[in-house]
C-alpha cells in the first residue's frame, strides 16, 4: 500500500483528520483509565470478609429505658438465640464487617511506646464469636468462658484477659510468626494483653475505597467482652447453610417474645450488608461502563459520518481510479489505511493523555498507577473500533462504478 497519496489527500482535509485523531485520543485516555478504575473497584468490592457471609445474620438491638440488668438480659437473649432451630452459634458484638462503623485502637509491643506498631479494629465477642461469625482459627485457641467479662459502655477501660487477632495483624506485630503467647499493649487500656489465638481473616468494618480502614483492612482483633451499653449492640447469629432468612424472622420474634423494651432497627445477612456497603463502588462501575460504551458509540458514529462525507466528496476520483484499474479491494484498503494512520496518531496522543490523566488521579485519589497494559488494550480497542467504523463507508466507496468517471459530473 502506498502511503504518500493518502497523506497528501489528508493534507487537504487536515481539520477532519485532526478532529478524528483528537477524538480517538480523548476516547482512549478516558477508556483506559475508566477500565482500570472499574477493574480496581470490582476487585475491591469482592474482597472476602473472612466470615460465612451468606449464613451470618446481624440483628441490631438497642434496649430502651436504661434497664439496670443489661448483662443478664444479653445472656438470656444469646441463650435463646443459640437454642433456636437452624442456628449454629450466636454472639454479641459492637459492630460487624461491612457495617461502616466501629472502633480502632493502636497496638504496641512496649508499654508507653510513642507511636503504635499497628492499628487494629476492635470486635467485641465471647467464646462463641469465632463460631458465630464463621471465622477460621489457624493458630492458638478460642477464648475460655472465664475470660469473657462485661464491658459497660465505651468509657469502661478494663483491659481484656486475652485477645484473638487476625493473621494480617499478627504478621504486622510479629513478623517472625510467633504471635500466639506474646503480649501487646493498647493505647488507653493499662497492662499487657496476651494473644491467645489467630484467625485467618476478619475484615475491618470500613470498606470505603481510600477511606478510613483501607490502610489496615485486614487488621482486626477480637476482645472477650460482652458490650453492655445504651448504644445499639449487634447479635451475630450463624444459621445452618441456607436457613438465614428463616432464622432472621424467628430470631426477631424470639427476642420480642423475651422483652418488648427494645428497638430492633434492622436485621440483615452479611450478604445484604455487602450489597449496601459497596453500593457506591458498584454504581461507579456501572456509570463508568455506560460512559465508556457511549463514548465508543459516539466516536465510531463520528468516524462513519466523516468518512462517508469523504467518500461522497471523492466519488469522481474513486470512479477514475476504478476506471484506471484499481480493484474494489484497493479502494477499501485505501480508506482503511487512511483510518489506521489517523487512529494510530490518535492512539499515540491518547496514551500520553491517558498517562497524564492517571497521574492527576493518583494525586487526588490514593490510587495506583495505571498499568501500561491498560493503555495498550485501550489503544488496540480504539484502532479496531476505527477499522470497524470505516468499513461501511469504505464498502460504499468500493461500490462506486468505474463508469462514473466517464459521466459528466
Amino acid at each position: 500500500m502506498e502511503f504518500r497519496p493518502i497523506i497528501s489527500a489528508m493534507r487537504r482535509n487536515k481539520v477532519g483528520a485532526i478532529l478524528i485523531a483528537v477524538q480517538m485520543a480523548i476516547t482512549l485516555a478516558i477508556l483506559c483509565n475508566a477500565l482500570f478504575l472499574i477493574e480496581q473497584r470490582v476487585a475491591w468490592s469482592q474482597r472476602p470478609t473472612g466470615t460465612d457471609e451468606a449464613n451470618v445474620v446481624v440483628i441490631e438491638n438497642q434496649w430502651v429505658g436504661n434497664p439496670p440488668d443489661l448483662g443478664a438480659r444479653m445472656q438470656g437473649d444469646l441463650a435463646a438465640l443459640r437454642s433456636l432451630p437452624g442456628v449454629q452459634d450466636a454472639t454479641s458484638s459492637n459492630t460487624y464487617p461491612l457495617s461502616g462503623g466501629g472502633s480502632t485502637t493502636g497496638l504496641s509491643l512496649q508499654p508507653d511506646q510513642k507511636n503504635a506498631t499497628a492499628l487494629g479494629s476492635i470486635y467485641f465477642g465471647d467464646e462463641h464469636a469465632i463460631g458465630a461469625f464463621g471465622l477460621k482459627l489457624i493458630a492458638g485457641r478460642n477464648f475460655n468462658s472465664d475470660e469473657v467479662v462485661d464491658k459497660v459502655g465505651y468509657t469502661d477501660l478494663k483491659p481484656p484477659a486475652a485477645i484473638i487477632v487476625t493473621r494480617a495483624l499478627a504478621e504486622k506485630l510479629f513478623p517472625n510468626g510467633n504471635a500466639v503467647g506474646q503480649s501487646i499493649y493498647e493505647e488507653s487500656l493499662k497492662g499487657q494483653i496476651p494473644i491467645v489465638g489467630v484467625v485467618d481473616r476478619m475484615q475491618v468494618p470500613w470498606v470505603g475505597a481510600g477511606g478510613w480502614g483501607s490502610k489496615f483492612a485486614e487488621s482486626s482483633l477480637i476482645v472477650p467482652f460482652h458490650f453492655l451499653s445504651s448504644y445499639p449492640t449487634y447479635y451475630i447469629v450463624h444459621s445452618q447453610p441456607g436457613q438465614a432468612a428463616t432464622v432472621m424472622q424467628a430470631a426477631q420474634k424470639k427476642l420480642f417474645d423475651i422483652s418488648r423494651a427494645r428497638v430492633i432497627e434492622k436485621a440483615l445477612t452479611l450478604t445484604t450488608a455487602r450489597t449496601e456497603a459497596y453500593k457506591d463502588d458498584k454504581g461507579l462501575v456501572v456509570i463508568l461502563a455506560v460512559v465508556c460504551a457511549s463514548l465508543l458509540a459516539v466516536t465510531s458514529f463520528g468516524i462513519v459520518g466523516l468518512t462517508s462525507y469523504w467518500v461522497a466528496q471523492r466519488r469522481r476520483q474513486i470512479g477514475i481510479r476504478r476506471a484506471l484499474g484499481a480493484t474494489r479491494n484497493a479502494i477499501i484498503q485505501y480508506f482503511q489505511t487512511e483510518n489506521l494512520l489517523i487512529a494510530g496518531a490518535g492512539a499515540l496522543i491518547g496514551i500520553a493523555l491517558a498517562l497524564s490523566l492517571n497521574i492527576w488521579m493518583v494525586n487526588i485519589f490514593a490510587m495506583q498507577r495505571l498499568n501500561t497494559v491498560y493503555a495498550l488494550i485501550g489503544a488496540i480497542v480504539v484502532l479496531v473500533l476505527g477499522q470497524a467504523a470505516v468499513l461501511w463507508p469504505a464498502l460504499r466507496a468500493a461500490s462506486i462504478p468505474p463508469a462514473l468517471a466517464t459521466r459528466a459530473a
Partner: protein, 437 residues
C-alpha cells in the same frame, strides 16, 4: 431576514436527516453526561447557608500535642473538641453566639403502649443553635438560656417528627418520652434542610436531618452517649466522669462572629486560651489553633468525594469528544453544500449572510441538542440516584439555573464548534463552485 435564515436552516437540517440526527444525538449525549455530573457537584458543593456562611466559624485547637496526631491530620488539628474546651469556650462567651453540640441516639416511646419504641437521633445543643443557623420555627420557640443552665427536660421537634407524632398539630407544651423520661416540647421547626449538614459532618452529612433537639447540659447530665466519632489520646479515666475530664474529642462547637474584626478577636481569644493552658501545664506545646468559616470548613473536610470530581472530568472529556464529533459532521454537512453556497454567493449573497445563515443552523442544532441533553440529564440523575447512595448524589435535582445552564452550554458549545465550518462556508469561492458544475 432572521426568520428566513431559520427557515433555510431548518430546511437544510431536514435535507440530511441522518447527519442532523447524529449531530443532535452527539451534543445531547455530551450535554446530558456533563450536566448530570455538574448538577450532582453543584448540589454537593453548594453553600448550605449562603446568608451566613461567612459569619459562622468552627474553632480547632491542638489539645493532644504535635506528636500525637494520626496521619489523617497533617496540620496537627482534629475536627472536634473535648468537653474541657467546650465548657471553657461556652463559659468565656467570647462570640456573639456559640454552641457546643453532639448527636445521640435515644429511644422514643410512643403514646400508644401497644406500639414498639423507635430509635431517634437527638441533637444536644445550646439555645444559641437556633438563631445561629437561622432555624425556622413553625410553632413555639427555642428553649431559654435558663433552660440550658437548669438542664431542663425540654425539646424542640423537627417538622417531620411533629407530623409523625402529632399529625402536624401545634404540640407546644405537650410531652414526649425519651428513654422513659418526659420532655416538654418548647417549639416545632418549620421545613429546614441543610445540604450538607455542615455543623456535624461525622454522621451522614447528606442523609436525614436531626429530628429532635434538647439542651446540651441535659444530655450531659443524663450521660447520653454520642454518635459519630470519638477519638482519644492520653489517659482516660473510667466512666462518664472520666470521659468528661479526658482529652477525648467528640463534640462539635460553632461560633457566630458577624464581622471580620470579631473573627480576629476570636482568633486572639483562642490563642490566649491555648497559651494559658500551656502556662497551666496542661499543654506542653506552643498554642496551635485555627478558625474556619463554613465554606473553608467544607473545603477542609473534603466533603465532595473525589469520585464525583473524577466523574466531572470524565464527563467534560466526553462532552469534548461529542462536540468535536458534531464539528466534524457539521464540516461535512456544510462543505457538502459548497455548490449551493457558491450559487447563492454568485447571486449576490454576502459572506456575512452566508455566515449568519450557517450560524443559525448550528444554533438550531445546539438548541435541539440542549433539549435532548436536558431530558438525558433528568434520566441520568434518576439513574445516579438509584445507583449511588445519598453521600454521592445528595438530593441533586434540576432547577432553573441548571436548565438554563444546560441549554446555554449546548447552544454556546455547538456554535463555538460550528464556527470553523461556518467560516469555511463563508469563504467558499463562488467561481470555483460554479466552474465545477
Amino acid at each position: 431576514m432572521f426568520r428566513y435564515y431559520v427557515t433555510l436552516g431548518l430546511r437544510s437540517l431536514r435535507r440530511n436527516v441522518i447527519l442532523t440526527a447524529l449531530m443532535i444525538a452527539a451534543i445531547g449525549v455530551g450535554i446530558g453526561a456533563c450536566m448530570t455530573a455538574l448538577t450532582v457537584f453543584r448540589a454537593m458543593s453548594g453553600d448550605p447557608i449562603p446568608q451566613k456562611s461567612g459569619q459562622l466559624y468552627v474553632p480547632q485547637i491542638d489539645n493532644w500535642g504535635p506528636d500525637n496526631h494520626s496521619a489523617g491530620a497533617p496540620d496537627h488539628l482534629e475536627n472536634q473538641l473535648s468537653y474541657i474546651e467546650v465548657q471553657a469556650f461556652m463559659k468565656a462567651h467570647a462570640a456573639k453566639r456559640q454552641t457546643g453540640m453532639y448527636a445521640t441516639l435515644q429511644s422514643l416511646w410512643p403514646a400508644d403502649p401497644n406500639q414498639k419504641p423507635t430509635k431517634v437521633f437527638v441533637r444536644a445543643a445550646y439555645t444559641d443553635f437556633f438563631p445561629m443557623f437561622d432555624v425556622p420555627f413553625k410553632y413555639g420557640r427555642a428553649w431559654s438560656a435558663s433552660d440550658d443552665e437548669n438542664r431542663a427536660p425540654v425539646v424542640v421537634l423537627s417538622r417531620e417528627m411533629n407530623d409523625k407524632l402529632f399529625g402536624g398539630a401545634n404540640s407546644v407544651g405537650k410531652t414526649i418520652r425519651l428513654d422513659n423520661e418526659p420532655y416538654t416540647i418548647s417549639g416545632v421547626l418549620d421545613e429546614w434542610k441543610l445540604l450538607p449538614r455542615f455543623y456535624d459532618l461525622n454522621i451522614r452529612p447528606f442523609g436525614d436531618a436531626d429530628t429532635i433537639f434538647m439542651p446540651f447540659t441535659r444530655a450531659i447530665e443524663k450521660q447520653m452517649g454520642n454518635v459519630g466519632s470519638t477519638q482519644c489520646n492520653g489517659d482516660v479515666g473510667p466512666g462518664w466522669e472520666g470521659r468528661l475530664r479526658s482529652d477525648c474529642i467528640w463534640l462539635q462547637f460553632w461560633v457566630e462572629l458577624p464581622t471580620e474584626a470579631d473573627a480576629q478577636a476570636y482568633r486572639a481569644f483562642l490563642n490566649n486560651y491555648a497559651a494559658e493552658q500551656q502556662k497551666l501545664g496542661r499543654f506542653h506545646w506552643a498554642p496551635h489553633t485555627q478558625l474556619r468559616n463554613v465554606k473553608e470548613w467544607l473545603k477542609y473536610r473534603h466533603i465532595v468525594p473525589s469520585e464525583v470530581r473524577i466523574l466531572i472530568l470524565v464527563s467534560f472529556g466526553f462532552l469534548l469528544v461529542c462536540l468535536m464529533n458534531a464539528m466534524g459532521l457539521m464540516l461535512a454537512k456544510i462543505m457538502g453544500r459548497a455548490s449551493d453556497i457558491g450559487v447563492r454567493r454568485a447571486l449576490g449573497a454576502s459572506r456575512r449572510a452566508i455566515f449568519s445563515q450557517c450560524l443559525i443552523e448550528t444554533g438550531v442544532v445546539g438548541l435541539a441538542g440542549g433539549i435532548l441533553g436536558l431530558a438525558l440529564t433528568a434520566a441520568g440523575l434518576l439513574a445516579a440516584r438509584s445507583l449511588l447512595t445519598k453521600e454521592f448524589v445528595a438530593l441533586a435535582h434540576l432547577d432553573m439555573t441548571d436548565t438554563a445552564l444546560a441549554v446555554l452550554l449546548a447552544v454556546g458549545a455547538t456554535v463555538l464548534a460550528g464556527l470553523y465550518p461556518t467560516w469555511r462556508a463563508a469563504h467558499v469561492q463562488p467561481a470555483w463552485q460554479l466552474k465545477a458544475q
